[in-house]
């Protein structure tokens, strides 16, 4: 069956993030001058305004900051996933990320719940991050 969900359209600035996921790595952009980690990828550091870019491998660990459980498919491709949990996760690198959670009971969700990222190859050239209980 062909993949029928929304897909990203990476730019040259964001491509390393998606390439990292395809390699099973969570890569975060950081400033090539001052080292500040930022997410989502963008051209300029908001701390020192440098446009020099580096990438770091994240630990893949984090803790739940908030979440929602979606019961309505706003895009037909997600109908089969309902209901699904979307977690907002604090990463120790200092940024947050959003992803679906898998294998976590709704009743177990709480602020501070430790999670770890895993990689879900959904089609040939696309890997999405997913969070599981750490």
């Amino acid at each position: 069956m062909s993949y029928d969900k929304l897909v990203p359209s990476p730019s040259p600035e964001t491509q390393p993030y998606w390439d990292g996921l395809n390699e099973g790595r969570l890569r975060l952009q950081c400033c090539g001058e001052c080292g500040k980690v930022r997410h989502y990828p963008r051209p300029m550091c908001d701390a020192c305004w440098s446009m020099k870019i580096d990438w770091v491998d994240a630990s893949g660990l984090g803790t739940v900051h908030s979440w929602t459980i979606t019961h309505y498919a706003f895009h037909p491709g997600f109908k089969g996933d309902l209901p699904y949990i979307l977690v907002t996760v604090d990463l120790p690198e200092g940024v947050r990320m959003n992803a679906q959670a898998r294998g976590i009971q709704e009743s177990a969700l709480r602020v501070g719940l430790p999670v770890k990222v895993v990689f879900d190859r959904v089609k040939d050239d696309l890997t999405l991050p997913v969070f599981e209980a750490a």
């Binding site: 895009h75 940024v95 679906q100």
Partner: protein, 385 residues
């Protein structure tokens, strides 16, 4: 009142207009926008060709449409204020600035949409350039619509402060009751807290009755220079204070340092200081209500209560006509119609004129907020002249 650098009383609402609000139409958004605009201009006692400034809502009619249809010979200013649901209130600040600068005498702020019959609001985010980053990094994960993107803000508030779904229900119930008193509202059957609690879950913790409507129609206001406003058809409603505020991480809620604080928190102190009034002076508040939670959060960010106390603040009918702070006396986006907050400005002017369908007795000073684009905010405080 205001200082030289202030916009305090630099302009007044002199005309308000709406179309009939609908859920189902074969008309175009442009025709709704022109009809509502014409109603506002006539309400002010003006002719369409008197308009010399235009600030239409983004994604709709453009200045050329008005020049062509109204026969405006000397349009002196046009702009948009692209802040989603905060656009219309932010447009008031823009209008006052160009009036104070001497560029315009009568600025038209207007909106028309086919939110029910045209493109679905719930999925429109994907097409908006300011959300390119969400389109790339969140939508492919299944976080697509505002209800899903805002739900983690509400959940965080609940986890941090003990806010409950029943408290959000209070907002839905009161707002629906106000809609039931309107001649022009699309959802008029009263609801109960139990109705809210049994409505289907959309994106937890937001239920169907936490969400605003999709609507067809138009609304508009005319802002005039104070020296003109004195001699016009209706009692002018003077803008005392106005400001816009943009949250940290404005397009990605996920990255916002505090999920429970909106751009309005930056605008509120500025607008209240400009107006020279306190929270206790506000007789009526029209608060942007795309979702119940967003109303509660804005009441905190406006300073009516501390952060985290919004749930308790809205309990026991506090937002009703006889409550401590009457809110969304027209039924809002939740129950009157989703006119992206233009209908909130129209309603505030009517309340302060004393001609509202659900009138707050002796309303002299009131406020209207806008909220949109994942957290932008705007606030205008007004008084009857």
């Amino acid at each position: 009142m205001g200082t030289a650098s202030s916009l305090c009383e630099a302009g007044a609402i002199t005309g308000v207009g709406e179309t009939k609000y609908l859920r189902g139409t074969d008309r175009t958004a442009l025709s709704f926008q022109l009809e509502a605009s014409l109603n506002a201009i006539r309400d002010a006692g003006l002719k369409p060709s008197d308009i010399d400034g235009l600030i239409p809502y983004g994604h709709g009619a453009v200045a050329e449409d008005f020049v062509t249809n109204f026969g405006i010979k000397d349009l002196r200013f046009s702009a948009t204020t692209p802040m989603g649901g905060a656009s219309s209130v932010a447009a008031i600040q823009c209008a006052l600035a160009v009036i104070q600068a001497g560029i315009c005498k009568h600025v038209l702020i207007s909106l028309g949409r086919t939110g029910y019959s045209g493109g679905r609001i719930g999925t429109r985010v994907q097409q908006m350039p300011q959300f390119k980053v969400i389109g790339e990094f969140e939508m492919p994960l299944g976080a697509i619509a505002p209800a899903q993107l805002y739900a983690p803000m509400a959940r965080r508030h609940m986890e941090m402060y003990g806010t409950t779904s029943r408290q959000l229900a209070e907002i839905a119930v009161t707002t629906r009751y106000h809609a039931s008193l309107q001649k022009n509202a699309t959802m008029k059957n009263p609801i109960t807290i139990e109705d809210h609690q049994s409505s289907r879950m959309i994106s937890d913790p937001l239920r169907l009755l936490d969400c605003s409507l999709e609507s067809d129609g138009g609304a508009a206001v005319v802002i005039s220079a104070p020296d003109r406003a004195r001699d016009m058809a209706k009692r002018p409603i003077l803008v005392m204070g106005v400001a816009e505020g943009h949250p940290d991480s404005p397009s990605a809620i996920t990255q916002r340092p505090d999920l429970t604080t909106l751009g309005l928190a930056k605008a509120a102190p500025k607008a209240f200081a400009m107006a020279g009034v306190e929270r206790g002076d506000i007789d009526v508040a029209e608060v942007y209500d795309c979702f119940t939670y967003i109303v509660m959060c804005q009441l905190e960010d406006l300073g009516f209560c501390k952060k985290g106390e919004g749930g308790a603040f809205v309990e026991n009918g506090a937002l009703g006509l006889n409550g401590r702070l009457p809110v969304n006396t027209h039924g809002g986006l939740l129950s009157q119609a989703h006119m992206a907050g233009m209908n909130h400005i129209v309603e505030l002017a009517r309340q302060l004129r004393g001609e509202a369908d659900a009138q707050v007795p002796n309303a002299e000073i009131g406020l209207v907020t806008g909220y949109g684009d994942m957290g932008d905010g705007a606030l205008a405080i007004m008084r009857r002249a």
